[in-house]
Subunit: 141 residues, 2 copies
Amino acid sequence: MNTPSLDETRNCLCLAARRAARSITRQFDEALRPHGLRSTQFSALAALSLAGPNTIKELAGILGADRTTMTRNLGVLEAEGLVSVQRGKDARERIAEITATGRRRIEAALADWQAVQQRVAESMGEAAAGSLRAIAWSRDD
Amino acid sequence: MNTPSLDETRNCLCLAARRAARSITRQFDEALRPHGLRSTQFSALAALSLAGPNTIKELAGILGADRTTMTRNLGVLEAEGLVSVQRGKDARERIAEITATGRRRIEAALADWQAVQQRVAESMGEAAAGSLRAIAWSRDD
DNA sequence: TCTCTAAACGTGCATATACACTTAAAAGAT
DNA sequence: ATCTTTTAAGTGTATATGCACGTTTAGAGA
């Protein structure tokens, strides 16, 4: 094992991943801004809309974020009335559910979401898009 | 143009990019923790080390982040004595430079960085790694 | 020189992110 | 039934991120 050189850090996959995410996020955020939604918020609403009511832990799993991050992100959405969070039968759990307002909000944003999605997809190409999705949904424990 | 369906959001590239970045960042952060560095800090130090003293704007360009984000990230590094920020001849500019302490810090972390880098690279495969880098460094203005 | 514009930067604000630690409740063990 | 362990979640703290807005300085033009 030889001493690693600083020069190798030019290939850093963490920087690459973060750079890519920031750039893509900025584009989605800009497209969603007229609807009062951030990328992260859009994702959370979409997940709740598709998966139905879910615990915070499960939701965090779906979005690949930390549980405590999910707690706070849901807090913002709840404050805006886009999501409601209630105790479940198991009193330890908190069930998050999209509200009618939230549903209207995300549906109103859908056309603009699709536009950026398509633009970004074309910009990176099918192969890259496939790779990105594969990385995002690979097991990593 | 037909009405977009909520179901299509399962393919959202923004979620994919953010999921991937979070997962990869967590792995790098864990590996760098013993050295008291976060992924972002490692990247900034590496960039300063390789590119030499640079203005905040240029540095932000290199790392693909917002200028104001760079200002604050450098503040953290400066507070730890890993970076020094000084006025340039052009008094509008602020030149950031890695300190001797900063250089020692990143060099001490290099072996552990290389280890995660390799592990993550193998986990995603060469093709995906190439795609990720291509996305990260593509023009996007 | 005076003025106007453009460039680089800082700050306020809001959100996102996650680790360490704590709390509460359910489930399991004896 | 009581004690212990496991599970779900909240909180404190720190960093990261970027938009809107304001400030300072350099440079260009009159």
